[in-house]
Amino acid sequence: MAGGAPAVWPPVAGAGAGGAFAARCLGAVVENRSLGSLVWLTLEVPGWPGAVPGQFAMLQARDSGCFLGRPLSVSAQYGEVVSFMIAPIGEGTRELCALSVGEQVWVLGPLGNGFDLDLLTAGPGRTVLVGGGVGAAPFPLLLSALAARYQQTPPPADAPKPEVLVLLGFRDASQACGAGPLAGAAEELEAAGVSCPGEVATEDGSIGRPERVTETMWRQVRPGDRLAVCGPWPMIEGVAKVCACIPDVQVWYSLEAGMACGVGSCHGCVVTLADGSRARVCREGPVFSSAALFDRGCFDAPAGGAS
């Protein structure tokens, strides 16, 4: 320990750029599919270790004009083939959405905590997924993981058929195409003996009910339900207000925040928790329980928020 400087330089002789410890790797686009106003981008990512649903990766087009990567939820994975659902809202996401098959992307991940499937399926209530806009991105992976789980451990034959309810809110029909990739995973669930109904709402009424997803929730969410919620902060607040009025619901929120590093280094992505402390969305999150986020476990005072 004394002294402490390793004797050789370069630290890992002959290891080439990156040395022994290469955090990012280059993935290659294998599919770029348009989903209305969103893009379903599939990459082959060498060495991808598999993500927990709700985890994300920092993506950056190889010849990006941006300085930093962008956090994007893992939407699906089959071995080293990983899919993302991307809304092209700014320079970084537009670059990614414009990539053609064969072009390369820097991938750092999977990152963050993800959803806890044990907690989401514990107890007699249903599992309810609530997504706003591209907030639906983690749900295909989450539904697949739930299906795999029920397949491995089928519910007791005498118990009531488990149910996973999916409530999605979009701006318009073109964004609602983001619901498409959930269909396959929902079928996997049905095949595993779990019913998986869903409802779509759009703000402009162009498809589904003309309402916000919080209004759908008033009709659909019941005491005892366990919710996985993902969307922009205003929606998180809206959902929390609804949940404050329904007894005995437990909620896990996946938050958005501007991120520079995604790995806990910059302290840029903080959210203020109910106890006044600050947590990094990329490390302690992106998934937070309602108890952690809101006083008395539900939204009645502006505790903070990531934006």
Binding site: P11, A15, G16, G19, A22, M58, C66, L68, S265, C266
Partner: protein
Amino acid sequence: MMPVRLGPLLLAHPIINASGTMEILDLAEVLGPDVLSVPPVAAYVPKTITMDARTGNPAPRILETPGGMINAIGLEGEGLKGFVADRLPRLLALPCPLIISIGGFSLDEYVGLAAGLREALEAALGDGWTAKAGLELNISCPNVHSGCVSIGSNPAETELVVGAVRKIWPGLLIAKLTPNVTDITAIARAAEAAGADAVAAVNTYKGLVIDRKTLRPYLGNVTGGLSGPAIKPLALRAVYELYETVGIPIVGMGGVATARDVLEFMACGAAAVAVGSAAFRDPSVGASLAVDLWDELTARGTSVADVVGVAHRPV
């Protein structure tokens, strides 16, 4: 190849990290423990430690800007006690030196932080601790509303703080300078006169971004610090001027992203070079830089010793 000497510390190569841009213990949890056994930097610099725990500035705290980024973290951290109890032991286990950054809101706090760290280091390592751990005085953070930044923009106060810490700190002592001054060399001369072993330049450039919807300041703290490639020409000029002014080594930083950037800082006069924001997009960039720098120097048939300050010498 000669290692780099900064005061009593010996660095295996010239690449370190910039304070506040790499949480190596988090990296180990996220990316695997290799990062602790083979760190991507020749010395590890934790985020600036303050006396008391701080929650930092309200969100939002960061935004990408053309060619760089702006941040207003506000020295969030667990404070001295938490650092000593929680992270210091694990950081001392790294196979490389440690350069601990401290930020005070008064002269007393700087002295108190240095004294506390000295005590902890002596307890952990005995007399040999100065070969393992050094100190960086952050007198330049633009994102807190009192304290350290005003010290760093005033030569007399700089001399006072550096001198007071020097009295009780026998290890490596670096003064980290702010570039938000009319004449950075005046601050550096004051730090040198007060006994600093080295200066680090630069911290971030004070800036502001506007929320595109509300047209109000975007950052929770209103202003923030600009970093990344956008500031590299400004930082190079600071290092260049410092090399003509002080005799102590310079730790250069500001926008480093490639081995060519490292060479440029060394040419301007940096004995060691820190990578900051670029490690956000690639946490292993320090390791790549060290390897690529080796290759660059070899290709040019030159060495660290020959390159440092070469920009000041005729072709």
